[in-house]
Symmetry: none
Subunit: 195 residues, 4 copies
Amino acid sequence: MPRLGMEPIRRAALVKATIAEIGRLGSLDVTVSQIARRAGVSAALAHHYFGDKETLLLAAMRHTLSAYGAEVRAGLAAANGNRERLEAIVGAGFSEMNFCRDTIATWLNFYVLAQRSEEAMRLLRVYRHRLRSNLLHELTPLLGEKPKAEAGAEGVAAMIDGIYLHEALHEAPPNPGAACAQVLGYLDLLIGDAA
Amino acid sequence: MPRLGMEPIRRAALVKATIAEIGRLGSLDVTVSQIARRAGVSAALAHHYFGDKETLLLAAMRHTLSAYGAEVRAGLAAANGNRERLEAIVGAGFSEMNFCRDTIATWLNFYVLAQRSEEAMRLLRVYRHRLRSNLLHELTPLLGEKPKAEAGAEGVAAMIDGIYLHEALHEAPPNPGAACAQVLGYLDLLIGDAA
Amino acid sequence: MPRLGMEPIRRAALVKATIAEIGRLGSLDVTVSQIARRAGVSAALAHHYFGDKETLLLAAMRHTLSAYGAEVRAGLAAANGNRERLEAIVGAGFSEMNFCRDTIATWLNFYVLAQRSEEAMRLLRVYRHRLRSNLLHELTPLLGEKPKAEAGAEGVAAMIDGIYLHEALHEAPPNPGAACAQVLGYLDLLIGDAA
Amino acid sequence: MPRLGMEPIRRAALVKATIAEIGRLGSLDVTVSQIARRAGVSAALAHHYFGDKETLLLAAMRHTLSAYGAEVRAGLAAANGNRERLEAIVGAGFSEMNFCRDTIATWLNFYVLAQRSEEAMRLLRVYRHRLRSNLLHELTPLLGEKPKAEAGAEGVAAMIDGIYLHEALHEAPPNPGAACAQVLGYLDLLIGDAA
DNA sequence: AATGAATGAGGATTCATTCAT
DNA sequence: GATGAATGAATCCTCATTCAT
């Protein structure tokens, strides 16, 4: 029985279901039907709201990215000093919510989607740019030299994503603490070296 | 015009074409027909030799992995001392042949394949294990402590894979030199720190 | 123009078309497309409703078997006395509706299907069991001895199926009357002998 | 290494393999490759000798039919008197060699083949005609009246084929003795009734 | 607002068959 | 005499997508 104002509810449910199904299958080859079923609606409704599958995938991507972004911002707001803010940036990527099987598989598949979709590529580049930019902002005062800070930001960003990738091969559930420690260790080296 | 002994030739051509097509489309959703066409044969022949698409994908994966492995071994054989051998290990991953669009896209998609195929997962874990093990072997004498060496190996491995992942977002062609320098910079920090 | 409640209509049409096509080609090697075309729908719809070809074949089998069963029951309900009921049982198998080219070809192919499909085998065994059981129920009082009645039921059942098989070789259209008479003649011998 | 005079050997092996494979799968949907493999030759050779699959199937049919015919003739030659000869005719159909799973499945599928192939239909009609004719020849003197003898021959033939058909549903291995006894019981009724 | 109905397009896979050696 | 090489032509099945209700 259709009620009014269902649109945002349905959209959110479908986006959530999309991420869950990509996580479950570990692939973009989820069918719209599977997604719709998990969201408790018909496949036709998914098309009604999103037009086509690609748009739904992109919406899922935007959702994941902006959730991550919000987490970073929240972390930054609560942190004091460069070092603490760096920890917040890194920590956001390894929070319980983000560093789980589903999300990891989803990220991985966004990279695949980006090979095919301009918009997905754009979104991922925005993410990457923000991450670097955030890191750079905190690293520059600590490292002094701009080139050094840039290389450091680059390196930290790469390590974070590499850890995600490695996690996609793990049998055991992800260990956010260890992952975080690994990156912070690298940060210490960078900073310590400069100090 | 059928000649004898075509099997190894066709198999090799199909494997190569598989990698090329995955690279071209950036996805495992290449059709057997596309692959076969590029290899200059019919889709039926691909099935004749490989049985099914998954097996062909796995063959492509094995090929890529063993090509990489060979490059590492060759580099190690030519290197003297721990530091040089570390450079060889890192360098193999960023050689002209490996660090190109096609191969990067292929790697990325192998990770996706691994989410669905036991065998792909196994192969990727073997690769990861060898990489770490190689790094650990050289790092241990340099870093002294075992835990430190292990964390270092882990970190370097993560950074290498992260750089690959980031490269999948680049518009410009990959820059092996910069990539290599980035990792070696991290290595210097690790070693310098221990020294 | 999609209307609601089409499912049972489509299912029935597809089942009917399946039987007709098996009858036309005399083989299970009918394509889903042929069946669908005859039912006036797309092949995709056949898969939508039945999942796969085998399930559709089994549905056709169930339909044929249960139509036959209904005819037997109707005949039995209208008959009085053992002899009349035996005639009803035999007659059901040779009714205009059942003893026609299509149905005969379909039965024949169900036996083939049973060699490959557990469920088809089960269905056919149920049919055979009911036929024997029905015959036995009427023959026992007439023949007195249980073993004699069992052998008789077996024999009559075999003859009915044998006549079907022979009919599959006929150029002329089936002759229900003659077929029926043949079996009833055997019944008379059995009963007369016992009397 | 090709030797001379291989043709009859290969042909026989292929025919035998055809029957065995039809028996194994219970269907005409055996592939030429399967047949050839079982015969220990390449699929190309099967085509070399038989031209196409249908011809090979027909050859298998002819082989089965003529083996059966030979068995009948041998039985008839060794028998004395009408009754004994009737037993011989019936017995041939239920000999160990003929009344086994493979052969039963093969016969069944020949009926299917006949729905599609003129030649197969012709062969099966020849078989049926001979069977009836043989039975008629022995029954006529015993039953006196021609119409009675014809009906009897028809009935016996039907029962034989019906028992074959029922056997295709058995889990237990075929029981030639019981099958034979069933038909002979019918014969006794026919004859006793006339005497 | 929501869905059942329906399909076209496409893809993996199979297989009889041909051909050069 | 025999086969490996190769393919075209199917066939089953899937799925995104559309449409009328």
